[in-house]
Amino acid sequence: MRVSTPKTATAALILSVNNVEVVYDHVILVLKGVSLDVPSGGIVALLGANGAGKTTTLKAVSNLLHAERGEVTKGSILFDGVEVQSLTPNEVVRRGCIQVMEGRRAFAHLTLEENLLTGAFTRKDGKSAIAQDLERVYAYFPRLKERRASTAGYTSGGEQQMCVIGRALMARPKMILLDEPSMGLAPQIVEEIFEIVKNLNAREGVSFLLAEQNTNMALRYASHGFILENGRVVMDGEARALAANEDVKEFYLGVAGDKRKSFRDVKHYKRRKRWLA
């Protein structure tokens, strides 16, 4: 189902995923032909329920599936015009596409600051530029500066989450794949993160592919949205159009009619809408 006119074919695409199929462990078919595009300088949100395949899609893009015994069995993924499958994960990063993985995967034995510095591994523009960016990340997340010398493994969940986001920023990428960036963060930090996304996008032209459960936020900041269900894209379109869609409103935004309903009042056996049976 398409909500609005298809994406403008004219805009240069930084990422284009074509009909990708992913199989784990040789038998578990997870993505059943996913196609999506990210225009250069765009912010695209990837929405969908648990298990829809958002994380898998992002891992396919950054070529991390191999390490998890998954493989792309069909379709192609072009980043900046290059077939991702032919690159190693570190070449993908070198070309400017970095992923923030779900689940706060900070390097446990390194300090927070060392964690951030590993993010700059692929950079060749000198120590001072890196130091500058480090300060910038600290400015975004003062809490990290406070705890810079702590071993990451012992910091709180939110601190680790900030750390991995900061780590990705340190790479100065062209494109960031954000997997659930808001998870476990305090509300004002969540706002902060989306502001960062907006800023980087506006000022430096960084493109974003955003897998996010906080649909509200995601659609507010994204230009496009794709809704995944069961390994298939079931709906896509401009963010505003999606936000206005009645189904999306009910199932993803929690607004029935115009008012947000209380979590206490949700019905027990709620009717579930599925676009696919």
Partner: protein, 294 residues
Amino acid sequence: MSGVLYSLVALGFVLIFKASGVFNFAQGAMVLLAGLALVRALDLLVAHGVPFWAAIVLGIGFGAAIMAATAWLIERFVIGPLVNQDGLTLFMSTIGVTFVLEGAAEMIFGSDVYPLRLFPTDAWFVFEDLFPGGILVNKLDVWGALIAGILVAGLAIFFQRTKTGRALRAVADDHLAAHSVGIPISWIWFVVWLVAGLVALVAATVWGTKLGVQFSITFLALKALPVLIIGGLTSIPGAIVGGLVVGAGEKIAEVYLGPSIGGGIEYWFPYVLALAVLLVRPQGLFGERIIERI
């Protein structure tokens, strides 16, 4: 003192563990391979009338080349494809590598005992008037200690101070996350295995002088384990300290306990010592803390 010789082998273990979380059982086999390559090249060159010093240089060069090839093969065909697997699987794969290296080394270079003589091996006794027997100091031990000291200093600085060193530690923590920030794991692992291979070459020169280059050198791997564990799997200086502790500990045990319970204690004593140390410090004397948080 003699424990320090084990440190040379333990060092190779630490390097690889620190950089990839792989517990490399093949280190002993690598010492054998490096030693055989060196000694066979040396023999051949000397036999063809190359002057001894030039033969040594060329022989070491050849050994290094062999270790580089080994490192590349291991990374390419074994460890590389096993990225993101758990430690036990990686450990077992290195035992597989051990078989391959042992078989290949002996097939290519022969399975005899090849004498090697690069360092003086005579001994002298100190403190003989202090207690009966005195302390035996072998010149080889002194050389070994010296070399180990230099290696440790260099490697410790490399790991703590450089960008690559940091990346290595990151890889050991989380392969996948390291991938995701663009650390070229294959390259890094190649480098680390190469360095470990070179350390093995150094160990081979010392141990080859001591035992002759031969299959039994692979048993060093087992003797180096307690050294490694006492020092801490992730600590480079720990390898030296572990060596000293084991060296002193097993001799003291042999002298004071040995006679009363039948000798041969040094066979297991280092392990019991390691066990005791671990009970107090589960990560060894200098190892990184094991993180437990929920």
